[in-house]
Symmetry: C2
Subunit: 423 residues, 2 copies
Amino acid sequence: MPDRRPKVVILGGGFGGLEAARTLRRAEVDITLIDRQNHHCFQPLLYQVATAALSPADVAWPIRHILRLQQNATVLMADVTGIDTQQRQVHTDSGDLPYDYLVIATGAMHSYFGHDEWSEVAPGLKRIEDATRIRRSILIAFEQAEIMADPDEQRRLLTFAIVGGGATGVEMAGAIAEIARQTLAADFRRIDPRSARIVLIEAGPRLLPAFLPVQSDYVRDTLTRAGVTVMTDTMVMKCDARGVDLDSGRLDASTTIWAAGVVASPAARWLSAEADRAGRVKVGPDLSAPGHPNIFVIGDTAAVSDSKGRPIPGIAPAAKQMGQYVGKLIAARVTGRASTKPFRYMHLGDLATIGRHAAVVKFGTLRLKGFIGWLFWSVAHIYFLIGLRNRFIVAFSWFWSYLTFQRGARLILARPAEAPQER
Amino acid sequence: MPDRRPKVVILGGGFGGLEAARTLRRAEVDITLIDRQNHHCFQPLLYQVATAALSPADVAWPIRHILRLQQNATVLMADVTGIDTQQRQVHTDSGDLPYDYLVIATGAMHSYFGHDEWSEVAPGLKRIEDATRIRRSILIAFEQAEIMADPDEQRRLLTFAIVGGGATGVEMAGAIAEIARQTLAADFRRIDPRSARIVLIEAGPRLLPAFLPVQSDYVRDTLTRAGVTVMTDTMVMKCDARGVDLDSGRLDASTTIWAAGVVASPAARWLSAEADRAGRVKVGPDLSAPGHPNIFVIGDTAAVSDSKGRPIPGIAPAAKQMGQYVGKLIAARVTGRASTKPFRYMHLGDLATIGRHAAVVKFGTLRLKGFIGWLFWSVAHIYFLIGLRNRFIVAFSWFWSYLTFQRGARLILARPAEAPQER
C-alpha cells in the first residue's frame, strides 16, 4: 500500500485501547477509536463514586480530549454491532468502517452466572452509571430508614450486602462502613446510622485470593473491626429486590452490590473465535485472534497466560501492557519490520484498600499494610489518574475527607425514567 | 402550650426554607424540614453544571448535612401531597406530620405557558437532573455531528436554541459559545465546533430587562462578538424534538433550552388560596397566607411587593430575606412576643455573567461590566456557596478553566431508562 496510510480501528477507549492508540502516535497510520461512551473511566476508583467520595467527572475524562493533540487519531462515539472479517469492516450503529488492523479492547461486564435477571436488583460496578445507581441506592436507604416506623423494615433498609470478596468487594464494604460509622453519624435524628449492617459475602475460603493468606487475614480483621460482617465459604443462591438467599439462610437487605465475576464483551462471537469460560478470546502469543493475523484482542477481552502458564489478571496494568505491545507491533508491521517477539506480561503487584488508613499491598517482594499501605495505594492511584486536573481534585477531595470524615458527593439524583416531568 | 414544644414544619430546602430553619436554631421549637430531594441546590450556578464546567456535587449539598449540628431540626426526604389546614397536618407520601407553624418554601418550576408537552423537548434549568440532561444533550450533539454525513443534519445538530433572554438564558448562551469556540475547538476531526450556531431568543425588546438599557446593549454586543445570534422581539410558537417554530420562521436545532418563565409550586391549591398569574400565593404583609396566621409562604412561591409596590423578584437573596423574616417572627411568637413589623425587602442588586471575562453588575449605585464585573460576579457566587469544601473546588475549577479553557465535567451519561442492562 504505497499511497494509502493503513487504517487502524480500535474498539474501546479503556486502558488497553487508549494505550494502543497512544503508542501509535508517531506511526504513519490513520487511527479510529470507537467507544459507546464519550469518556474513559478510571475503573479502579469507581467505588469512590459509588460511595459518594468523588464525583463522576473526577474519575472520567472525554476520550477525544485525551487524544486531541494526536492528529492521526479520530474518536467516534458509536455502538459496535459486528465485524466482517472477510470485507475487513467494523459495523456500527452509525455506519461501517474499513480497517487494515483491528484492535479489540472492549473489556468485560458483570457475570451473574446464568442469572442475568439479578443485574436488575444487584448492580455491578463497571460504568459511571453503575456507580451513581449504587450511590443513590445507599443514600436513599438511610433516608427511607429515617422515615420508616416498622423496625424490621428499618433493619432491612440499613443492611447492605456485597457479593464477592475480591478487591472491589473489599473496597465497597470498607467504604460503606465508613459512610455509616463516620460520614452520616451525626446527620440523622430517628435512626443511628452506626447500627447499619454491612455484609461481605465470599464463596471461597478467604478474601482477596490474589494476596498472601496472612494479608487476607489482616483484611478480614480490619473490616470486622470497622463493623463489616465477613462471610466466607458462603454461596449466593438468589438475589431479589429485598435481599439475597444464601446457602446459610436469608439476608434481607436494601442494597445488594455484585462484585463476584465478569464475562468478556462479545468479541468472540463477532469473530466466531474460540472463547474460554469467561467469554474471553483465546489469542496467540502476539495477541492476534486465531486465523486473523491483523486482528488483535487485548485487555479483559483476551485470554492470555504469562510465561509460567498462569492466566493474566483482568487489571489495568495488564490491559495497558497489551495495548502498548500491540501498538508497537502494528507500528513495526506498517514499516515492513516483522516483530515476532511474543507478548510478555510483567506483574507489578496487587493493591486493595480497606478504608481510612488501611490497605494491603503486594508489590514485587514488598508487603505493606495499614497506614503505609494506604499511603502507597493513594499515591499509586493519583499518579495513574489521567489528566492533571483530576489529580488535583482527587487529591484535594481525599485530603478533605481525611480531615473531616466527610464525603463531597452525597447526591441522590432522580432516575430520569421515574422523575416527574414538571415538579 | 406549657409542656410541648411548638412544631414548625418547613416545606422545601431551598434558600428560603433553609434560612428559616437556621434562623430558628436557638428557638424552643421542633423543626421538621421536608424536601423531595436530599440536597440543597445552588441554582445560580446550575448553568455551569449544564455546560460541563462543574460537577453536580459542586453546587449541591445534603440538606441534613447542612443542618446536622442544629439539634432542634429533623430533615425528612418525602413528597408533600397536600395540607389539611383544619387538622393542621401536612400529608406526605410517607405519612402525616402535625404542625403548629407551617412555612411553605417549595419554589417554582418552569412554565411553558400552557404547552406542558414542550418540557419533553425543551428542558428548563431548575434541578440537578435538568442540568445533567442538558449537558448530555449539548455534548452528544457534537458527537453525532462528527459521525453525520448529511450536511443539513450536521448543521441542525450544531444549532443550539435558548428561549428566554433573562440571566439564565444569557449565561447559558455565553457558556455554550465558549464550549464551541474554545473547549472543543481541537477535539474533533470532521467538524469544526466553532461553526456551531447558538441562538438566544427573547420575546421582549431587549435582553436582561432588570438591568439598565445601556447594560442590555453591552450584553448583546458581547454575546454577538462571542458568536451568539441574539433575536429580540421574537416569539416561540412551538417547540419540537428537532427545533423551534418562531414567528419569524423555522429554526432547526439539536438542543432547545427553556429559560423563559416560571410558575410557582402548587401551594395555592394546597391552601385553596388566591394566586397571581404565575401561581404564587398572595400573602399578607407578614408573609402569612390569607386567613392562616400560622402558615407562611416565602420565596418563589409567594407574591410579594416591595414598599414601592413593585413585585419582589424570584432570586436567592429575596428568598433568604423572607426565610429570615419568618424565622424571627415565629421565634418571637413562640416566646409570646408579637412581631407586627411587616416584611421589608432590600434589593441588593442584579448580576449576570456572559462568559469568560464578561459580566454585568447593577449593585446599589454600582455599575460594573467586563472583567471587573466578572471578578465581582465570581467572588459573590463563591462567597454564597454553601460549604467550605465546595468553595475550594469551585474556585479551583474556575481558575483551572480560566487557565486552560477546559471544562472538567464533560460526561455523557446514559439515561438509565435507555441504558442496556448488560453491556
